[in-house]
Assembly symmetry: D2
Homo-oligomer: 136 residues x 4
């Protein structure tokens, strides 16, 4: 299944008064990587959004170590499972060799009235490919 | 001109690693108060957004004192000026008697193609009223 | 176990270009309700943060229906489980009678060096109480 | 005076239900570029934060054109003025040749009790340099 690793830097605005990132920042990082994965698969989500939506129905994350401002992180996401109308992405956030966060996000293809739609074959095939690319 | 004061509490997610709020939180507080002002004027922005937009063209804020998590604040906004196609809101954020932030936000009425539109007379009149209401 | 329901309104800044809330907003709503629950239990987290932290180690949410700007929602949270060093909060977000989101958040008590600490008995007892209070 | 241009992409989470970015995203973009400018000047703000703070006292922005999800933008910031205790950064956000946002941010050097401090000579000199570097 297709994967992508996005190199990011923890931003000041992602932190909270604990000195660490607010945990919701991890979901924003996964989302950034997911968009790059989809772009590289040939399906930029900015195009997709014009015809339908991809709302999240299930999300989860586990935190193993805190992340601090300005740290360089590698956000890896991959396609974990493609269902009839939904895709599950899984992800991990690394600081050097240390895995700091893991997560999973399931999104469902919907039309403009929020009704689930079968995932088009072209997307299914593109996401099933095993090509890895590493973005900047 | 119409005004509104919204009582809010500084949330954990609004803070950054300095221990204070990230300054952009102040703009979110002003926006919350602006929505209540418009609702009380009889023009809930959730209705308005269906027919057109109200993008910001000019925003500014001055910070006199830091705000910390869980502090109770009073966010006062008022209509400062109504132009042909734009409205300027001004605001102040108080913690007890201390003014911590002041700001001004100018938004322009646009149609769906982002072209400026004259502000409807009904909105102009409703916002020119001098009634103050204090919300929760 | 202690619970709390917080009445909130979906803010403009919580939405994304789909017209719905960005899903991370739901976690912010749960956090707001958690802080009120802790305050009413006699342990305001703003005090707690001065002596130690409460980082999240596990979070999840399921989305049943979209939320739109300006909707009034009831965010219920309750203490699901108190472990040796961790607390699990569960929550649900309702728009009128409709459950739109459910979630669970596990946080661990840590000292200033991020080492897990036993939850103090006073907190344990206060959170085990079955008093419900409904806030504004 | 020193300047820096940061290439960014508008993220999904930066948008609101208007389909455009929420205007506060522009301030986050400026902040990202400011951190890179300071890093390249030899004063990474992650180090600086350990000894003192740099809270904003005055911020403003003007919006000339909307920004949409996934657009590639160039965020230019430069040192506009160095006062006794404060620095003013100015910035512009471009999508291709189109200037979409301009802004100015004044931050003040403070010690741990939030008292303004003279800007150290080393920082003053480094920021007065006229070297431009273009980041990724």
């Amino acid at each position: 299944m297709r994967s992508h690793t996005e190199k990011l830097r923890v931003r000041w605005v992602d932190t909270d008064a604990s000195g660490r990132i607010h945990y919701t920042a991890a979901f924003r990082y996964f989302e950034t990587a997911e968009w790059e994965l989809m772009r590289q698969a040939g399906f930029p989500l900015s195009d997709h959004r014009k015809i339908s939506g991809l709302p999240r129905v299930n999300v989860s994350a586990t935190f193993y170590a805190p992340l601090y401002v300005d740290e360089q992180i590698a956000v890896k996401v991959w396609v974990e499972r493609i269902g009839t109308t939904s895709i599950t992405f899984a992800g991990e956030i690394y600081r050097e060799e240390k895995r700091c966060v893991s997560g999973a996000i399931t999104a469902v293809f919907v039309d403009h009235r929020d009704h689930p739609q079968p995932i088009p074959d072209a997307i299914r095939q593109a996401l099933s490919g095993d090509e890895n690319r590493f973005g900047s």
